[in-house]
Symmetry: C2
Subunit: 601 residues, 2 copies
Amino acid sequence: MSAPILNERDLDFMLYELFDVESMTSRPRFADHNRETFSGAVTTAKTIAEKVFLPMRAKADRIEPTFDGEKVELIPELKTALDAVVESGLASAGADYEMGGMQLPYVVECAATSYLSAAGGTTINYTCMTTSNANLIEAHGTQEQIDKWVVPMREGRFAGTMAMTEPSAGSGLADLTTSAVKESDGSYRITGNKIFTSGGDHELNENIVHLVLARVKDAPKGIKGISLFIVPKFLVNDDGSLGDRNDVALAGVFHKMGGRAQTTTALSFGENDGAMGYLVGEENRGLSYMFHMMNEARIMAGISSSILGLTAFQYSLDYAKERPQGRLLSEKDPLSAPVNIIQHPDVRRMLLLQKAYAEGAMALSLFGAKLVDDEATAETEEQKQAAKTLLDFLTPIIKAWPAEYCLKANKHAIQVLGGHGYINEHPVEFFYRENRANSIHEGTTGIQSLDLLGRKVPYNGFAGYQACLDEITKTIEFAKDIDSLRDYADELSNALATLKKTTETVLTATQSMSVDAAFCNSVKYLEMFGHIVIAWLWLKQGVVAEAALADGAHEEDEKFYRGKLHTLKYFYGHELPEVYRWADILTRLDTVNYDMQPDWF
Amino acid sequence: MSAPILNERDLDFMLYELFDVESMTSRPRFADHNRETFSGAVTTAKTIAEKVFLPMRAKADRIEPTFDGEKVELIPELKTALDAVVESGLASAGADYEMGGMQLPYVVECAATSYLSAAGGTTINYTCMTTSNANLIEAHGTQEQIDKWVVPMREGRFAGTMAMTEPSAGSGLADLTTSAVKESDGSYRITGNKIFTSGGDHELNENIVHLVLARVKDAPKGIKGISLFIVPKFLVNDDGSLGDRNDVALAGVFHKMGGRAQTTTALSFGENDGAMGYLVGEENRGLSYMFHMMNEARIMAGISSSILGLTAFQYSLDYAKERPQGRLLSEKDPLSAPVNIIQHPDVRRMLLLQKAYAEGAMALSLFGAKLVDDEATAETEEQKQAAKTLLDFLTPIIKAWPAEYCLKANKHAIQVLGGHGYINEHPVEFFYRENRANSIHEGTTGIQSLDLLGRKVPYNGFAGYQACLDEITKTIEFAKDIDSLRDYADELSNALATLKKTTETVLTATQSMSVDAAFCNSVKYLEMFGHIVIAWLWLKQGVVAEAALADGAHEEDEKFYRGKLHTLKYFYGHELPEVYRWADILTRLDTVNYDMQPDWF
């Protein structure tokens, strides 16, 4: 098998043709960059992915992290792989020059990371979590905290985590009970238990910086009384050297369906005297800081889901091209040679579905990443605000749609390989197991759907909702002038009208019925919106492909663009019509889910 | 957690209320039986499941079978569990008295096995495969073969397998190359390689009886030249004692995503002098004998898929009832106590979906099992033939629909548990991994869909197709007279009309276009037919529930029947309308799958 980790041509298409990332080099922050430096970063990641990540992927999955009561045991290849990333500079690709970074746009950083994520599963998450942690402290911490914690994280010496979930609270952050007591020196003593902390303990780095949500004594109850603390594994002296071990203990590691390269831990803070913690920003504002990190993590979840969709698609495509088996139904001669399975229409269906979902999801996720850049570096304040408005709105869709649909794509990648897809000689079952986490962590699909319908849609006078619709309408108007795309533009326009009507019906319903009943199909609303957004991104890809073909693309490129247009056709013929089924359930205000009684099950 | 393995009330409902299994006791073969003996068998299975299977399920999953070059190493608990089944008599529950069996109806045997399957994953498959193997030899072998191989299999001393798939042929049986050369004594020497042979080697039994497909020298090419052989691991002397080791070698064991209790092997036949093999029936008729076993295996696959759907549903239901987390949207007081998650409408949605899929699939699978009984033991030849016609027709749907939709149910069981669903402290991720195989083995969903559309529908002047439609229409007519069910009856009637039109359009199309193109949405056709059949079975359940409520069911029972009726409502509101979307793709003869070119991907 010689399947590429990712389709390089497609990644280039997304970056340079669909989203014109090169144009960002006109912004001061990226002034030193050009397409070559962008591609250089991606190529570096690809090289590391092929040389160091890919060879250890199966082993990291097979040999789970173990805890002997003293420390976490990981396979040594993980450290080698992560060290290679740090040495290459990619670990702080987006950070400021003065922090040792490369000042690459976030969207390019995501594209580069994609190779590492595809080739090594959750391995690269150690680095990504550290970067997110460092970004948060850089944004909300003091200069002293930046010097003490961010600098060594950027250098790859320290790792970072986000310790949020508690055993009895789960996604219900309002109910967390970890407590913080202020000491006379201004530090705090933290006591409580956290679970599902990714990378919560290991020996990969000198030190681990936990960002911990906790309640200061006498703080308001609920989400208004949550503060954020830096709680290191080892205390750090003023000269930067490591001090004593902090009162943070590993209570256990979880054994997971997938994502095994990354340790997932239960942590116990303050079993003895209380763990030393340092307040980030102000008391009781912890959740808003954490959401800074969480929104970034939600974009990353979209990217990760998409990448797993893409890499599994490449693998099953390669398999389908090379594996002879069976004959076409039309073959009259039962003794003719078997055909490669890509000749079977049903195998093509399973590949088209994967391509449509995974490339659509990747376009959405990279669009989200570009909005992160625009929010930070666009030319005018107005443009920055517009990017923020759109990104905030799209975040639940970016988090949830790729997670749901690329998982479905992965299920089909297994199916293309048949029995071979079920055994670990091939990585497709691994991709499925890996991806299964993505519709759960950083807020489940159900939570995202309520965030979308209940918060993001009506927020600020429907500003984000309208911005999203405007963006889609722009593409529709443009595509209407292209003969071959006019029908798609009309179909998307109809779907959009249905979406508007659905939104109005559901939101109006809350005036006359319980919001629990009115929103009981919120996941269908998210799927509906997601399908329309993805249909929009496929139309956008179609516009680019048609333009390139009109310009006279050379032979290999012509096939590539034809593939894009054919997948557009697939999405509009087989997927977009789903929207009407969901709209029907939503607009008739079906409450079958809400009405079901627990003791009827 | 105290989740029941299965919902006993529902199993009773299916057996005694929905399918009136008790009425079979009027048939001579089951004359000694009554509801008590039926329930006794199920209770025995349940006891063994709870005492011996459940405690070792996680361990059998964690510690995969290994091959040290000499033999297969399994955890000892497996043998204990399987021995308990043999000792209880359940291993030959359906066999003749004279073969040491209980002569239980197949449908009761399936219900009993359900507990073992739910509690032990693929563990019980060693027994099921052995039974299928024995049934085949009993049906097509000589008396000598029955005495030599079937008797010890019924006694639990020997195990049986089906060695069919070859590395280069996969599902394309026409291309298998394992060869058989006839010796002067009438036996054959078998040479070739098989993969994915379940239970292909282990030390659980004294001997293993492989049923091997192979080509006799100079046989016709393709599927017309395939014969079936008994190829034992150890030769057996005429007095029944074990002789020399046969020339069958274990080449390796596969490491699978799930189903790890059962060894899946690569076997090498005749590496030295050729393995001794004994022809079953006549030369070149092997495939038809094997399909006898395969069709049974396809019903079993339907049952297994359904069981995994049901048991995961029970587990996630129990979790949802006990786990407090979050508040309802309508809750004005953010400091109120968290509710149990079953109060969240989206959690109810995920539970309803599971209930609708899994109980619908189980009803279908048990209906199939009952048809197996009817084919063998119905009063008249005409009734037997009618059962055979309907069963043959439904087999691809029984094989594929539960596998696809109960897998989807399992995906949602994980989601109900959130992060806890992704770790192996809870078995829901295990159920998913276990179930993922079911849409692959014994013919993939794609293969089933072509079998349905290309063969089963037009077969014998549309006899099976018509029989199925008649059966559905009967229920529609009955339900039309019940006020609360009339709308459902109408909806099913409309769906049926659409199905007829779709069938006609697609089959007519083959006259004017390539069959490859015309059938390129065959999986959608199978899903459409499957959804209609499941909708029919939900309506049937609704009829029974309404009658019971009209009779004045007592309190607990009333809730049970209300739950059935509400799930019926869910299926007709949220699932059945899918049919029209699939019909649209099929009737417009959409060829986007067929048209996609391999080099456009």
